[in-house]
């Protein structure tokens, strides 16, 4: 199939960026969008141009490295999918795809489609853990955890930290990311001792990093590759009051 990529090119954070169009002819519809970028990069290299920079690694949707906007949608049109799992067969011959980096104050652009998501690590550092050192653990069966409770905690713990929720939010809020971590640990007995302190610390850090507040338009939930429910954001707000 033939496809046109309109890609945001920006050399560094302090430079201005622009869109650059590339027409690709006769590409296999069995390629993922990232593999199309690989192919385009080989072409750019052989003609002496600078290849397109984007984060990626596992290419099976679990590491959370990749992510950009495809025609304005975080990770593209397919639900429950990160962009490495998005294949060209989702599109039609002759389509124009506009690729933009995540755009959020807390995620400064590094180059092209690559941004700095260090703020997520600092959010976890602010309290997204249980303060149990190695060798201090009681027997794993000492505290029973109901099956439904374990399943629900697991569902929130699946967040891959890709940043799509932030990029899709008009306020660039990290509410879904923070709520998911608070809900993961807050639903388990091991997370109880620090539950209130964790909720406060992580939400304060979210503000300090320059993320906005939740605007309740639920785009975060719609684009989340792990389909984490935005109901946990309301739950988080109750956590802080309690």
């Amino acid at each position: 199939m033939n496809i046109t990529l309109r890609i945001w090119r920006q050399v560094a954070a302090h430079e201005t960026g622009l869109y650059e169009s590339h027409n690709l002819k006769n590409v296999s519809s069995d390629l993922s969008l990232l593999e199309v970028l690989d192919q385009l990069n080989e072409r750019l290299i052989s003609t002496g141009e600078r290849p397109i920079n984007f984060d990626h690694d596992c290419r099976e949707g679990i590491c959370g490295s990749c992510g950009f906007l495809v025609n304005g949608q975080a990770h593209g049109p397919r639900s429950a999918t990160s962009v490495c799992q998005l294949y060209l067969r989702e599109f039609s011959d002759g389509d124009v795809l506009t690729l933009d980096p995540w755009r959020a104050q807390a995620f400064p652009i590094i180059q092209d489609l690559m941004v700095d998501r260090g703020a997520f690590d600092r959010l976890i550092s602010a309290g997204g853990y249980c303060s149990t050192g190695t060798g201090q653990a009681p027997d794993g069966n000492a505290l029973p955890v109901g099956r439904d409770q374990a399943t629900s905690a697991f569902n929130t713990a699946t967040c891959i930290g890709c940043g799509a929720c932030v990029a899709s939010c008009r306020n660039a809020s990290a509410s879904l990311f923070v709520a998911a971590k608070l809900a993961h640990l807050g639903q388990l007995p091991q997370g109880q001792p620090e539950r209130a302190a964790r909720a406060n610390a992580m939400q304060n850090q979210m503000t300090a990093e320059g993320f906005g507040s939740c605007s309740s338009n639920l785009e975060c939930e719609a684009v989340c590759p792990q389909e984490i429910s935005a109901d946990w954001i309301s739950w988080m707000h109750r956590e802080r009051r309690s």
């Binding site: 080989e42 290419r59 590491c63 397919r78 997204g128 029973p144 099956r147 374990a150 091991q190």
Partner: protein
């Protein structure tokens, strides 16, 4: 260097040997610890758990990762689970059974004392992870749930749906980030470690490239821990993440660290095959699908008809035909070999004839679509997303893919390499998995190394060696930095015309053919010639665009692939020298009339540890393996 260092194996019976060893290890004053720098490279299960634990003990820890966040390390992709011997009264599991399964699974090419230690530690790992909030699957009553896995007759695999690696990694990552918040860990992301710094033969630091600024940095320490994973990406197409690489261990090898059994690489039979030259990776599909699927190929070579137009009598259910007892559940390595042979003979299906059918039609007809969806729903969706085919209507196409490397830097019982002060953890070392790793044992080993073994043995090393300051201006640091700078300059100024991926792709196809599912002496020798020729072309015709001091993904790849060339050669040498078939290493010359692997315990019950020899041929040392608790037996599935 002369020969092999003392592996420092424990004396006496192997049971509780680790406990006895630990009790005799020298300790170090807590006050001194805060003045001692330790470097940890890599933040997968092994690296993150080791860094968090060493920081908890009070050391000043610096962590380097090439990712933008420690949470991205490829441990995150492990699906199935983590083994642990936690006997309950009714299932008959025990530490000794896990020990025996691990040693047998590795086809008696691992140290028994290491396997025993792993089995003894395994239960504490689960406790540790639960305490960190890892949401393991639970029974209705609230206790930890388990499932059974290949190679074991008991249910001892703990899991978190199909994302166990992710959940265990996040537990270790969060422990690491807690130490960052406490100021005990300095976390440096987007750093590629490109060389090891040694002073008087002792590891004292690394050279790293900052992947955004391109700056070369020197980081010094009293001990260096490499926790950088395996090298399946030598094969280009593998189930590993695209940036998984062997640079740190390869550079350490060039500085004197012995490399053990590099040819022990595991190929997983059920992966989604390559569809296009530009396909960048292979994705693992759980082997459990073979419980309900039938594997087949057209009887007629070159038959290009779609699957549904090939009548029943023209299909060859080759595993059922050749192995009537085990049928489609024939062990991984055997299934992989037979698939490869038939594809080579022209029976393969798919656009490039490099896959076999895994057909669930009969099971769907017998049990209904709903039952199959309940069992494998997520796998069916994943397959559909990647291949574009509906696996409920068309048979799936699968093919074996490199998945895990048992080989790695040689380490002694203390996880120290042959370079004093250099420790190697997790998949990066050669330790407990022998010639073949069992399912759900990689996560166990990574965390055993990181949480429980290295913190004790690294401490003991630090206690027993005098403090020596090293400044980044030390000649050893300056030389290593300069050598790396020159290497980068040479790659950038190479002036050729071919991008690095083209070379990597070609290297991968040589290696999968010559040193993959099965090997023979003629093929390996041919492979050595091909790799040498390709390497020469790489140095003559490589084109790396851009500058050294900017983000440069092509330069990163070129540095990695250059190291893969050296490693590929060593893998071939090792495969050639090991004149036996064991575990994942199958030499066609060493098989029975029925095609079963023939191990040679008289001549090869040893670890081969290779010494780098400049531009000359590598030198092979051997560490004999002794078995006291369990005598070697022959694996049989007939």
């Amino acid at each position: 260097m002369s020969g092999l260092p003392d592996p420092r194996l424990p004396s006496g019976p192997i049971t509780d040997a680790w406990q006895r060893t630990k009790e005799e290890l020298p300790l170090i004053s807590p006050l001194r610890k805060s003045k001692i720098d330790v470097l940890v490279v890599g933040t997968g299960l092994a690296g993150a758990s080791a860094a968090a634990t060493l920081a908890q003990q009070g050391y000043r820890v610096t962590v380097l990762s090439f990712h933008d966040s420690p949470r991205r390390a490829h441990s995150v992709a492990a699906q199935g689970g983590i083994n642990a011997a936690r006997p309950v009264a009714v299932d008959g599991d025990s530490v000794s059974r896990l020990f025996a399964d691990t040693l047998k699974g590795g086809d008696f090419r691992a140290r028994e004392s290491g396997c025993q230690r792993l089995a003894e530690i395994s239960s504490s790992i689960i406790d540790q992870c639960v305490a960190q909030g890892v949401p393991f699957a639970r029974e209705y009553g609230g206790s930890l749930a388990t499932r059974s896995f290949g190679g074991a007759l008991v249910s001892r695999t703990f899991y978190a749906r199909g994302q166990t690696g992710q959940q265990l990694l996040y537990g270790a990552y969060q422990a690491l980030m807690r130490q960052v918040a406490l100021g005990r860990i300095k976390l440096l992301t987007r750093r590629d470690v490109l060389d090891l710094i040694t002073v008087d033969g002792v590891a004292r630091g690394v050279v790293a490239r900052h992947l955004i600024t391109g700056e070369l940095e020197v980081h010094t320490a009293r001990a260096v821990l490499l926790c950088t994973g395996g090298y399946s990406n030598v094969y280009f197409l593998s189930t590993n993440a695209l940036k998984s690489n062997a640079s740190a261990i390869w550079r350490a090898h060039r500085k004197g660290a012995l490399f053990a059994n590099p040819c022990f690489t595991q190929i997983h039979p059920t992966c989604i095959p390559s569809g296009d030259t530009f396909q960048s990776k292979l994705t693992l599909m759980s082997e459990s699908l073979r419980n309900d699927g039938r594997v087949w190929l057209p009887k007629q070579a070159g038959d290009r008809r779609p699957a549904d137009e090939i009548p029943e009598q023209e299909r060859d259910y080759f595993l059922e035909r050749m192995y009537p007892t085990y049928g489609n559940m024939t062990p991984r390595d055997v299934a992989s070999r037979r698939a490869r042979e038939l594809c080579n003979a022209g029976h393969g299906v798919g656009p490039d004839g490099r896959s076999v059918y895994l057909d669930l039609t009969d099971s769907i007809r017998e049990e209904g679509r709903g039952a199959i969806a309940a069992r494998y729903g997520n796998l069916m969706t994943m397959y559909e997303r990647i291949s574009g085919d509906d696996p409920y209507r068309k048979p799936m196409r699968i093919y074996p893919a490199p998945h895990y490397t048992m080989g790695g830097l040689w380490v002694d019982y203390h996880l120290m390499s042959s370079i004093p002060g250099l420790f190697v953890l997790g998949e990066a070392n050669y330790s407990e998995h022998g010639a073949n790793r069992l399912g759900a044992s990689a996560l166990m080993q990574g965390l055993a190394d990181g949480y429980f073994i290295a913190p004790s043995t690294v401490s003991a090393w630090l206690a027993g060696t005098p403090a020596m300051e090293i400044s980044p201006d030390d000649p050893a640091c300056r030389d290593a930095l300069e050598a790396t700078r020159m290497r980068i300059e040479n790659l950038l100024n190479n002036g050729g015309s071919t991008p690095v991926d083209a070379f990597h792709r070609e290297l991968g196809s040589i290696m999968i053919e010559r040193c993959g599912i099965s090997r023979n002496a003629g093929g390996i020798r041919e492979g050595l010639k091909q790799v040498a020729g390709l390497r020469e072309r790489f140095h003559n015709d490589l084109r790396v665009p851009g500058e050294p001091r900017e983000p440069n993904a092509e330069l990163e790849k070129a540095l990695r692939v250059e190291d893969f060339f050296g490693l590929a050669k060593l893998m071939l040498h090792d495969a050639l020298a090991r004149e036996e078939s064991c575990g994942a290493h199958f030499r066609e010359e060493h098989q029975s009339a029925e095609g079963e692997a023939q191990r040679d315990d008289a001549n090869f019950a040893h670890i081969a540890a290779w010494e780098h020899n400049g531009n000359g041929e590598p030198i092979r040392h051997t560490e004999p393996l002794r078995f006291t608790a369990l005598q070697p037996s022959t694996r049989s599935y007939r």
